[in-house]
Each structure stands twice: as C-alpha cells, then as structure tokens.
Amino acid sequence: MATFGIEAIRHFGHARAAGISTAGDLTYTFNRSNGFRSKLLGSGHTQRFYYADTDCWETDLRDNDQGGSDRSFADNADIFWIETHGNNVNGSPRLLYDTAQTQWRTFATQWQLGEGTDAEWIMAYSCHTTERNKVGGLWNIFAGLHIYCGAYDNMYDGITTDECGEDVADNLTDGDTVAESWIDGVSDWAVDNHPIVVCPANAAVYNNGNIRWDQSYLNRDHFWGHGTVLPDPVPSQTVRLLYRWSEG
C-alpha cells in the first residue's frame, strides 16, 4: 500500500502582516485535506505526515541539495498533497507559506522529486502553478517523480469545491489512473478550476512524435494497491513532458 503526506494552509495572516503577500485566507482547505486523508486512511494507506498552517515549511519541498529537507518530507511519501496559494515563474511553480522557516515561498526551481524510492506523485491544490504554454518550466522537478498534478490558472476555494480531496482519493482507490483521479476529482464541471497533469516521457513513448499515449504515465500509472504502477522514470532519458488538462 502507499504512503502519503499532506500540507494544508488555510490562514495567511502572518504573511500579510509581514508584508510578504496580500493573499487572503481560505475557507475549505481542511475540508479537502481532511477528506483526502480520511479516504486514504480508510483504504489502508499510511500517513507519513499531515501539517497545517504554520507547521508547513518551504524546506519540505526544497531539495536536500538546495538546503531543504525534501527527503524527509515531500520526497518521503508516495503521494504528497499540498494546498496553499500559488503562482508560477515561466511555468515553474511557486507556493506561499504562512511562516518563513527560511523563506516564505518555495520555488520549484529548487525541487528534485523522486530521487529516492518515494515521491511518485505531487498534487498541488493551488492557483496557477504552471502555464499551459510553459509546461517545460516543470522539467527539473522530475528526478524520478511520475506525475505533477497542478493547475494552469485558478483553482477555486468555495462551497462547491469542498469535497475535492475526497473525490480525488475516491478516484485513486476506486482504480482510476492518478492523472484521471486529479482532473476528475478537482472538477465539479461548474466552476473554472484549471487542472493539469504533467509527466516525463522517454524516447520510446515519444516515438519520434507519434506519441504512444497508451504507454505514458498519464494512461497507465495508478495508485499503489489499486492498479498498475509504472517503474520510476530515468531523468536522463526524458525527451518530452506530456501534459493533459481540462478546459471550459
């Protein structure tokens, strides 16, 4: 079975007070993260950690080689769910924290996920963590990571998206692929959430441009215990990033 880690930030009063950001508080953060947690625990998976608000630190995603401690946190669980405010720089995610462990934000240029045996999947319920026309900005984060699940524009916090965590987890444990679990689970097909899933592809999958979508992580990678899980990608063999998104 799988291990999971969760970091969820609902309140941003410290970041505002420090003049770091004008980001507002959220309302349904813990509805989603608690729901994700309870469904995975209910299916027999193991929680590595669950931190909230100021207990979430930017060093948890930052690579050990970059002064962070990801190997004890984000890179130490099969799936890592994070929820906070986000944005991107040239398609590379940046996420806001409500405390400065060393910095107030994490920048994905300092992520290298999947270097160990864990961190197959990252799910970031945060706005605009990449650009649909700059997905290449995520290239460096794939150091063995299978799929990044994020957003190419806003992800809404509201009463109609309060059960997204449960929906994603139900999809995962019902046997949907990870890619489908994210896009379907965070979409209520009413508000404009903008989910996107991104994975690396080697030359065999890229197939000189005649892409073997059927062989990709997007099509075949399931959650541990609920279907096929592909072997870790070899970063030096990545020739393309594949991505899938919904649009209204």
Binding site: I159, T161, W189, A190, I211, R244
Partner: protein, 319 residues
C-alpha cells in the same frame, strides 16, 4: 455558469468599494422579490441504493455491463458497485448522487481530431438525450445544457516547443432549474464522451425535491446581497496593503438555490447569492467562490464555515 470576465473593474484608480459593490449588484439581474423554498427528499442508504437500482435498470437497456453481476460494497458515504469490464457505479447516501464510470484509461479512445465546439456540443446533447437525463427531474423543473468542457493533451520539449493538442474527452454539463431558478453548485448532470462516441462517464447530481414546500421567503435586494458578498470576500482577504476591491475581478455573480456537495445531507434548497471572484496580484493568484444567504430567515442559513484540522494532529517542533 460559463466563465466570462464581467469587466466589473474599470480603471483601478477610479474604483471605490461602493462602486465595486454597486457593480456586483447591477450584475444580479432578475432577482425575484420572493422565492419558494422546496424541501428535499431524504435518503437512507437503502433508499439511495433503490435509486441506484433504478439507474442500473435504465442503463441496462443499452449497456450489458449493467445486466451482469454487480459486486456491491457499502461504504460510510456511498455504495459502490463494481461492474464488468472494470466499470463502476456509485450512489451517495446523503444526496442520492449517481455516477457511472466506464473504466477507460484516460488516453484511450482519443478523438481522431480536435472537433469544433459545435460538433462536440451536438454529440454530448445526443448522448444526453439517449440517456434520457431529464427523467431525473421533477415537475416544473428543467435541466438545460450549461457548458461544454474538453480534456486535451499535448507534449513539450525542453526548449518549450509544444506539439499540437489531441482531444481526449468531451464533457457536457447540465444545470438543474426549479421554477426557472438555477440550483447552484456542481454540475447537475454530466455526460462525458470518448473519441468514438463511447460513454466514458455519466453522473446525476440533482437534488430530488419532495412534494412539499417549506414556504415562501422574501429575497434580499440585489444591493444587499452584493454588500454581503463583498463583506465575506473582505473578511477572507484580511488586513493587507491593498483593499479587496483593488485586486478583485468577479467572473460571475448569481442568484439561485444552493445544492451542497454530494456527501452532505440537505433538507431544503436554500436561496443564495454566489459569486466567483479572481484576485490577481503580482505575487499570488487566488480564486474564490463566495456564497451568502439570499434571505434573512436564520433557519435557512447554510453552513458556510470550513472544517478545522483534525483534533489528533500533532504540532510540529521547530528546531
């Protein structure tokens, strides 16, 4: 609820809080003076499973997987039915929400080309008609098509050169209306098609009204609703160097009934004002769905308070 930036934000420097609220109010057209408050049918797990049986019988007319044996698993919030060929069906006990998932892998059965919106809309409408989706609504109720969604995929190389997209799925979303008033929330019905016209998923999230009306309520005026929406947004934004109206761009503002999420029991359809508001600043981008009651009857206030963290979470020790 098609997204369209309402351009409620003229020149920033000229916008005041009062202007912003007035613009929100101006967008709330045709708000009735009074509204009926329908009560909703309540389900037990057994009643919800009965609804799933009806769904199954109807689907069995065109899909053999519903005729074969079903593996039934009762869980705390729902009953899950495993069907042949990796398909599944579920019913949620609190809401009676129904969903069929065919079990196709997401990059199987792609469309041969990226079709036009008109073609895709026609295709999902034809599928919805075949599924007879309107049998799930009551008298004096409607379930019109609301919006087409698409799922696409592409690739990019390290230099940022992207391939042309492929079309994976077309999704038709439908909106429940009762006496011409929309029931706001997740899409009320969803038809999801794969490339060869195969049904990939179908869900019905219509709150079933009972024959009883709880009563008729006076609706708050649009300006009062707009003021409340702004107050809620301002409360979330807290104290910062910019006022909310300086950063906010409403996407839409609506009056309607509120359908809560599928795992939540709901006794009545409560009238609300709801707005989708984007906050764009140079640092973080934010999206809020703000919801406030549209009557002053305290017994009709939906719970709009978010959850807290689990009581058993351990605090982290900072080294």
């Amino acid at each position: 609820m098609k997204s369209s930036n309402l351009n409620l934000k003229p020149t920033l420097s000229l916008m005041t809080e009062k202007d912003f609220i007035q613009k929100l109010a101006d967008t709330l057209k045709n708000v009735p003076a009074t509204v009926a408050v329908p009560s909703l049918r309540q389900y037990s797990p057994a009643l919800a499973q009965g609804r799933a049986d009806r769904f199954s019988r109807l689907m069995a007319k065109t899909d053999a997987r519903f005729v074969s044996r079903k593996d039934m698993l009762v869980q705390p919030h729902r009953t899950l039915y495993r069907l042949a060929q990796n398909a599944r069906m579920e019913v949620h006990h609190a809401s009676g929400d129904l969903r069929f998932v065919a079990g196709l892998n997401p990059m199987e059965s792609l469309f041969a080309k990226v079709e036009t919106r008109e073609v895709l809309t026609r295709n999902v409408e034809a599928a919805a008609s075949k599924l007879d989706i309107r049998q799930w609504i009551g008298k004096n109720e409607e379930l019109p098509f609301e919006r087409l969604w698409q799922i696409k995929a592409a690739s990019v190389d390290q230099k940022g050169q992207a391939s042309d997209p492929v079309l994976c799925r077309a999704i038709g979303a439908y909106r429940h209306h009762i006496a011409k008033i929309p029931v706001l929330g997740a899409a009320s019905a969803v038809v999801k098609l794969a490339g060869n016209g195969e049904l990939d998923a179908f869900s019905v999230s219509v709150r079933e009204t009972s024959d009883q009306l709880l009563g008729t309520e006076r609706v708050l005026r649009a300006d009062a609703g707009a003021k409340q929406l702004y107050a809620q947004l301002a409360s979330l934004m807290g104290k910062s160097k910019s006022a909310p109206f300086e950063m906010a761009t409403p996407q839409w503002v609506r009056f309607g009934y509120l359908a809560q999420s599928r795992r939540q029991a709901q006794r009545v359809l409560v009238p609300v004002f709801m707005a989708a508001i984007d906050i764009k600043t140079e640092n973080e981008q934010q999206g809020y769905i703000v919801t406030v009651p549209a009557t002053s009857n305290p017994s009709l206030l939906p719970s709009l308070r978010g959850a807290d963290i689990p009581a058993d979470l351990e605090r982290r020790i900072r080294k």
